[in-house]
């Protein structure tokens, strides 16, 4: 098929189907935040370094600022808004609060998605594995100390 400058895509985000026409140049993070109004995922940089935009695409942890929305056509996307079930926090979210693993909360959505991906793959990670798992998520408030503690606690 020929190259096009915009296209209708179908995505499932946190279990809900969406069909939208979107410009080829539209980044996936802008599509999630501006077009679908799911503003939980955030933008903290413009070079793919900070991880605040991390989401799961078909179970794989990615930075949604380095993907075009059209690339996600047909995918199942999980964002932070899908972690809790109608207001009931899951274990990881509760551990983040219990251990004061967030202050401003701006990196937290991306951090939770990275931790979710890590724990699905490795049920009891060591401290080094936890730090390696969130290496792609910059936090400027916490120095990562309590984030590592929270993930360790959620793993038990």
């Amino acid at each position: 098929m020929e190259a096009v400058s915009s296209r209708t895509i179908t995505v499932e985000v946190n279990g809900v189907q969406y069909e939208r026409e979107v410009e080829a140049r539209r980044l996936l993070i802008h599509f999630i935040r501006d077009d679908l109004n799911l503003t939980g995922s955030h933008i903290g940089c413009d070079t793919g370094n900070c991880g605040a935009c991390s989401v799961l695409i078909d179970g794989v942890l990615v930075k949604s600022c380095m993907m075009l929305a059209v690339q996600a056509d047909g995918a199942k996307i999980e964002t932070v808004e899908g972690l809790a079930s109608d207001g009931e926090l899951n274990g990881l979210q509760q551990a983040f609060s219990d251990h004061h693993a967030l202050q401003c909360g701006y990196c937290t959505p991306g951090m939770l998605m990275s931790a979710t991906a890590l724990l699905r793959e490795n049920a009891s990670p060591s401290e080094e594995e936890i730090r390696k798992g969130i290496q792609g998520n910059i936090c400027r408030c916490t120095g990562y100390v309590n984030i590592v503690e929270a993930i360790k606690a959620a793993a038990q």
Binding site: T47, S97, R140, T142
Partner: protein, 826 residues
């Protein structure tokens, strides 16, 4: 790279005061967390309006150039573009923002967009508004700006020569200069056994780069002329003081709203130029406009921390290691526009002696403009730079005289029994025990097994070093210090506001004047109010964020300068006390007894000794709000109170530049262990301890979180974070691709300890804390110096930022830095 298998121990509890009843001092769950962990916070970029336009700025590629013409015609022709704004329009429609300094700084003209001349790469020249973010960016490429490049200056000392003048209307690059002279420095030099001289030290330019960049959504109401700004401004009180006169409107026309902010660290205080441009666009286009700043814009044009060079440092020292004082010439580089400056020229004087008892200090201070991004009060503002100077002096003096830097600290620290301690320029350190904190830090880092650690490192071909960083968080400014800079300024004291009400269904609602960006204000406020009203924090509804329309802010409201625990909670305590008193008066009127017979316990107002006679909060609220017939006429009770907290300050003596400039002084003593690979200069922080003393801790977890965060930012600034410019004036670290902030794997194992020296000057005995005074930078520099130098030999660590090549140069050419230091022994 050692595997970080050491898990940070739980904080070493040293002084477990009697466990206070009530919620203050407990780690209650944070009220902010529930929404934030579900991605349901509301940050400025989450706010949307129908038909809003997206703003994108056209920015200068030149460090210094005259603007000959700006042609927006092609941009306007692009389908989907709503409109534009240029510097000429701004110069017509607004007045320049008022300057804090005296001439020549006072004559600088600072507009929302560059008018006539651009002064740094990234300086906004014009703005375009369009239907989508992408279209706005496309349109900026169609705006044709004809620049006439001018010579530029990027170095502070060079700029002082005024060969290249940035602001013609000021006629000089000097923003402010003055000499501070306390005690008798010359006599001290006479009396000294040694005089140590340090030719040059340099505090590098960096910033705490909050993860959320700045931005706003601005709506204009044509009927009332009212602007509503959903944004990230940390000090709306001062922001409005800048913006209203520039826009030629009353201050009430500017309504600031924010709920959640993704970190600020002082970099969201000087947003008035960009916000004013957005206000003009919202009015001009009669549509809401939304500006989102991207990371590269934030680094190249928003704000940096102050860069400061220290020259000709002279330190008279007695034979026994007692330091008598110091003199220094300081040159502070504030970038292209002063804005919040020159406040930085006096703020350091809050901690003139640092943690030490020397009495004779002379500082010749000059602040200068350069063709670089403007500065803002970045975390540790101005005190960090000065405290780094005092700590470098202590380490270099100890090194040159062959003394143990730890013993020299203990000998010269202000003693525990000397508090409250008046500094040479009249500030009063409220309480503390620096030596004790140092001992705890040494214990946490296993100082007694120093030699084994050194040998173990050497066996792996590494050079080991341990360093101390002692620092202060001076909190709650007396803005009267600004008068020392410019006697005509009408700022002094400080204030913060809170309101509290009991409404019809008995719910307690509190509003603040502060602008939290992660410090947990809703939680600590609920703790204070719950303890006063005798209920639980869950029953206290603290409205999230800030809104001018709550009418709970004052001129100096905001969240900055480590002061919430004092000013914010001081206002909250005042409001809660007033509300409690009114609740007792109402209950007394209902029960027919005196207010003193009433106590507030278990969410009820009841008669002491007769618990059955109790009115639940709901009853009190209902009676006053909807069922008040029969209440005594003289009962003046509203259950809706507003309180303004004002710390007790005097205006300083402008002649002697003398007076109490800050209310409280929290202490942090850090110890850092490094291992250097001598073949490459690469080094790793292998162990770290931070001991904190900020008086009574309201929420220990939140205090520790601030210590962790401040340390991480300081370690970033000490190792890789630096804003370096090439000779064209291009910033070489314009985003996170080259500006390397610490990631999870970069952080060392961190151990924390604390003591609580109650403050005698604050309502809750707490001290403001959180900026951290750059303790991590001092500790890393000290550790590198300890590893590299031996008595009177080896290199001198003279810069605050030491990347691998910096350490490599120190190793390769020790004589280049050694010659910066000389010792005259009598």
């Amino acid at each position: 790279m050692t595997e970080t298998t050491v898990t940070p121990e739980r904080p070493l509890v040293v002084e477990e005061g009697e466990s206070k009843a009530g919620f203050i001092g407990q780690n209650i769950p944070r009220k902010e967390d529930k929404r934030l962990v579900q991605g349901e916070g509301v940050f400025f970029d989450d706010v949307k309006r129908h038909e809003m336009g997206f703003v994108h700025f056209v920015r200068s590629p030149y460090a210094h150039a005259r603007i000959k013409s700006v042609d927006v015609s092609k941009a306007l022709e692009l389908d989907g573009v709503y409109g534009t704004l240029t510097g000429d329009e701004v110069a017509i429609l607004t007045d320049p923002f008022f300057e804090l300094s005296t001439p020549p700084g006072a004559n600088i003209k600072d507009y929302a967009l560059a008018a006539g001349r651009v002064r740094h790469v990234g300086d906004p020249v014009a703005a375009v508004v369009a239907r989508t973010r992408e279209l706005a960016r496309d349109a900026t490429e169609l705006v044709e700006v004809d620049y006439e490049p001018l010579p530029h200056v990027l170095d502070g000392e060079e700029s002082l020569k005024d060969e290249v003048v940035l602001h013609e209307e000021a006629g000089s690059n000097t923003v402010w200069s003055g000499v501070f002279d306390w005690g008798d420095f010359d006599a001290a030099v006479e009396d000294a056994d040694h005089v140590v001289r340090i030719e040059r030290l340099h505090f590098d330019r960096f910033s705490s780069t909050p993860l959320e960049c700045s931005g706003c959504l601005v709506e204009f109401n044509r009927g009332t002329g009212q602007w509503t700004i959903h944004g990230t401004h940390q000090m709306p009180g001062v922001g409005a003081i800048w913006m209203a006169p520039a826009l030629r409107v009353g201050i009430d026309k500017l309504r600031f709203i924010s709920q959640d902010i993704g970190g600020g660290f002082g970099n969201k205080i000087t947003l008035h130029p960009q916000y004013t441009a957005c206000c003009l666009l919202a009015r001009k286009l009669n549509r809401p406009v939304q500006w989102t700043e991207w990371r590269t814009d934030q680094h190249t044009a928003n704000t940096h921390g102050n860069e400061r060079t220290f020259l000709d440092v002279t330190v008279p020292v007695k034979a026994d290691g007692t330091m008598l004082g110091f003199s220094v010439r300081a040159i502070d580089d504030c970038g292209a526009f002063p804005r919040y400056e020159p406040l930085g020229c006096i703020i350091w004087a809050q901690v003139t002696p640092g943690c030490y008892r020397w009495r004779n200090v002379r500082v010749d201070f000059t602040q200068v403009c350069t063709n670089k991004s403007p500065v803002a009060p970045n975390r540790g503002y101005s005190r960090m730079q000065h405290l780094w100077l005092t700590e470098r002096i202590v380490d270099i003096v100890a090194g040159e005289l062959g003394l143990d830097p730890i013993e020299v600290r203990k000998k010269n620290y202000v003693k525990h029994e000397e508090f409250p301690y008046e500094t040479p320029n009249g500030c009063v350190y409220d309480s503390g025990d620096y030596a004790r904190c140092l001992d705890i830090a040494l214990e946490l880092i296993g100082y007694d097994s120093l030699e084994e650690k050194r040998q173990d490192a050497e066996s792996r071909g590494k050079v080991f070093g341990i360093g101390i960083g002692s620092t202060l968080d001076s909190g709650t400014n007396n803005f009267g210090q600004s008068m020392i800079l410019n006697p005509e300024l009408q700022f002094s004291g400080n204030n913060e506001v809170a309101t509290a009400k009991l409404d019809i269904f008995g719910e307690v609602v509190v509003t603040l004047g502060t602008v939290p960006q992660g410090q947990g204000h809703e939680t600590t406020t609920a703790q204070v109010v719950a303890d006063i009203l005798g209920c639980t924090p869950d029953e206290i509804n603290v409205r999230a964020g800030h809104d001018t329309y709550w009418n709970s802010n004052a001129g100096l409201s905001g969240t900055y300068a480590s002061q919430f625990a004092v000013t914010g909670l001081g206002a909250v305590k005042g409001a809660a006390d007033k509300l409690a008193d009114e609740m007792k008066q109402l209950a007394a009127a209902v029960f027919g007894c005196g207010p003193d017979d009433i106590e507030l316990v278990a969410s009820q107002a009841r008669i002491k000794g007769n618990p059955e006679a109790a009115l639940p909060f709901m009853a009190l609220g209902a009676i006053l709000n909807a069922n008040n017939a029969g209440l005594p006429p003289e009962l003046d009770v509203t259950l809706n109170v507003r309180y303004v907290f004002r710390p007790q300050f005097e205006k300083p003596d402008l002649e002697r530049k003398f007076g109490n400039l800050t209310l409280t002084y929290a202490t942090q003593i850090h110890a850092c262990a490094v291992e250097i690979d001598p073949e490459t200069g690469v080094y790793e922080i292998v162990d770290y301890a931070a001991v904190d003393d900020c008086g009574n801790r309201i929420h220990p977890q939140i205090v520790e979180g601030q210590v962790h965060g401040a340390t991480a930012q300081a370690l970033g600034a000490a190792t890789h974070e630096i804003f370096t410019y090439d000779e064209e004036g291009n910033l070489l670290t314009p985003n996170f691709y080259d500006y390397h902030v610490p990631h999870a794997l970069d952080m060392p194992p961190m151990k924390t300890g604390y003591i609580e020296s109650t403050s005698p000057f604050t309502p809750l005995g707490a001290k403001g804390m959180g900026e951290g005074g750059g303790a991590g930078i001092h500790a890393v520099c000290a550790a590198l110096q300890n590893a590299l130098g031996k008595k009177g030999e080896g290199p001198i660590v003279w810069r605050s930022c030491n990347p691998y090549e910096g350490v490599w140069d120190l190793l390769q050419k020790p004589e280049e830095t050694r010659k910066l230091v000389s010792v005259e022994t009598r």
